[in-house]
């Protein structure tokens, strides 16, 4: 009884996180795994070559990579990423895709507020529209 009495009188020891109120100051750990993202730079370029290593590494079939053939300036045909389809509803955030990516194109985002009303909204296309491969990633 002494202990509970102690805590009753020492209100500053309260450890509750007031979550929705502290949203503005809430800082997640930088390694926290919330969702898979493709990094884009300011020129709207990403590093994904469409090699499908992540698709193979994923245990749940979360990632689907759709590629297209693109004719380069020198006339060669090359495989390019068209859409990086990511099913957040199937993802277990195991980090295997990030580890397997040879060009460090995908990272884990810290956003964890994923609740939506429709499951379809959890199917995401991660590359921005009109984005293209960064120069020099493939070599």
């Amino acid at each position: 009884m002494k202990l509970t009495g102690y805590y009753f009188t020492h209100l500053k020891e309260i450890v509750t996180e007031e979550y929705p109120e502290n949203r503005s100051t809430l800082k997640m750990m930088d390694r926290f795994r919330g969702e898979v993202l493709i990094q884009h730079d300011e020129k709207n370029e990403h590093r994904c070559t469409g090699c499908q290593a992540c698709e193979i590494a994923c245990p749940n079939g979360t990632i689907k990579i759709i590629t297209k053939q693109e004719i380069q300036a020198d006339g060669k045909k090359k495989k390019r990423l068209e859409a990086f389809v990511y099913h957040l509803d199937m993802c277990t955030l195991c980090n295997l895709c990030i580890v397997s990516c040879p060009s460090d194109a995908i990272v884990m985002g810290q956003n964890f507020e994923h609740s939506v009303y429709d499951k379809k909204q959890l199917k995401k296309i991660l590359n921005n529209p009109g984005s293209k491969l960064m120069e020099g990633v493939e070599e």
């Binding site: 009884m1 202990l3 509970t4 805590y7 009753f8 309260i14």
Partner: protein
């Protein structure tokens, strides 16, 4: 300032009474009106009290558990219980198919009514008492044990095995702890020589029994607190609803307002036992006096009697809540062992001591 201090419930009551008798000439009608006003105000008081106790319990629990507790509805969550009640009101009052429907629906009312009946003889303030019955203590202890009928009824009629076990435990528990409560009350009845609650309060004008009665009264006070915690089925004696064992005990099958009735009666019971303990051992509405320190005593007199009463009551309520949020639950055989092997013999010896003390006039 002086008017404010001299203001009390008794003057308010007498004012209303005189005003009513001026307005209504028919004597029968007058009595009925008075009773209606009393009943409604008592009900309103009890409901508000239960809201407050519910809020207090949750906050006390939260602070002891290094949490914040309810903080959404109203300032600091103070309207949380109101919101909960509204939720329970809108819920469907389900009656299971296999249950004994009449008894099932009757049980919560019996539980609530018995606990409300006990409120009647409590003296809230100086000269402010609903019913100054001459056998107050006897009345309280007999009516409060009636609640077990409702609980047994609820457990039996639910036709749920968990409810049945809970009800059976409740029967064994309440019946046995009733003895200790009765015996510890008797020790004060012996000392004060009266069963009327108002006279018991009056007998403490020169000092509360817990100070006047030396160690035997302190022992019976402790026994009373422990036994009454068991009587009102609160942890660590909440075997009848033991969530981890019986998923809810006798009220497993209840929902909606019928479930709220059980909660209501639990909090009324909590208030009643604390009020009785405050009245009998801590002098009810009597202010705190120390021997011949006249200045100090006058200062204490300035605090209204109702505040004295409620402060003492809430102190005891807080202690009972403190129990609940600290101790683990007993097992059923340990519970009965505690009563029959420890509390009962101790209180019997204690009564002997009190009687000797009274005869020899050793108390103050």
């Amino acid at each position: 300032m002086k008017i404010l201090l001299s203001y009390s419930f008794s003057s308010l009551a007498s004012k209303i009474s005189t005003w009513l008798s001026n307005v209504i000439s028919n004597e029968m009608l007058l009595i009925i009106t008075k009773m209606l006003i009393l009943g409604i105000s008592l009900l309103a008081f009890l409901v508000v009290l239960c809201f407050f106790l519910g809020y207090m319990e949750r906050k006390v629990a939260a602070f002891m558990e290094i949490r914040i507790g309810p903080n959404r509805v109203g300032p600091k969550g103070s309207l949380q219980i109101v919101a909960d009640t509204v939720k329970l009101l809108f819920k469907e009052g389900l009656t299971p198919d296999a249950s004994d429907k009449f008894l099932f629906n009757l049980a919560p009312f019996i539980v609530v009514i018995t606990s409300m009946l006990v409120v009647a003889p409590i003296a809230y303030a100086k000269d402010f008492q609903l019913w100054d019955i001459s056998i107050g203590v006897l009345y309280v202890s007999s009516i409060s044990s009636m609640g077990v009928i409702g609980i047994l009824m609820a457990g039996w009629s639910s036709s749920n095995k968990y409810s049945l076990i809970g009800a059976m435990r409740s029967g064994a528990q309440i019946v046995s702890y009733e003895l200790s409560i009765g015996l510890s009350l008797i020790s004060i009845v012996i000392l004060s020589g009266s069963m009327s609650l108002s006279e018991i309060v009056q007998s403490q004008a020169n000092g509360w029994w817990i100070f006047k009665g030396h160690i035997p009264v302190i022992i019976s006070f402790v026994i009373f607190i422990v036994a009454s915690t068991a009587e009102i089925n609160r942890a660590p004696f909440d075997l009848t609803e033991a969530e981890q064992e019986l998923t809810g005990g006798f009220h497993t099958e209840y929902s909606g307002m019928k479930f709220a009735m059980f909660l209501l009666s639990e909090y009324i019971n909590l208030f009643v036992v604390s009020a009785i303990a405050a009245t009998i051992f801590l002098g009810g509405w009597m202010p705190f006096h120390i021997g011949s320190l006249n200045g100090f005593n006058h200062l204490m007199d300035y605090i209204p009697s109702s505040i004295w009463f409620f402060a003492k009551t809430f102190l005891i309520i807080f202690i009972i809540m403190w129990f609940r949020w600290t101790f683990p639950r007993l097992r059923i055989d340990q519970l009965l062992n505690l009563e029959w092997k420890y509390l009962l013999p101790i209180s019997m010896v204690n009564i002997l001591l009190v009687t000797i003390m009274t005869i020899m006039g050793w108390h103050f």
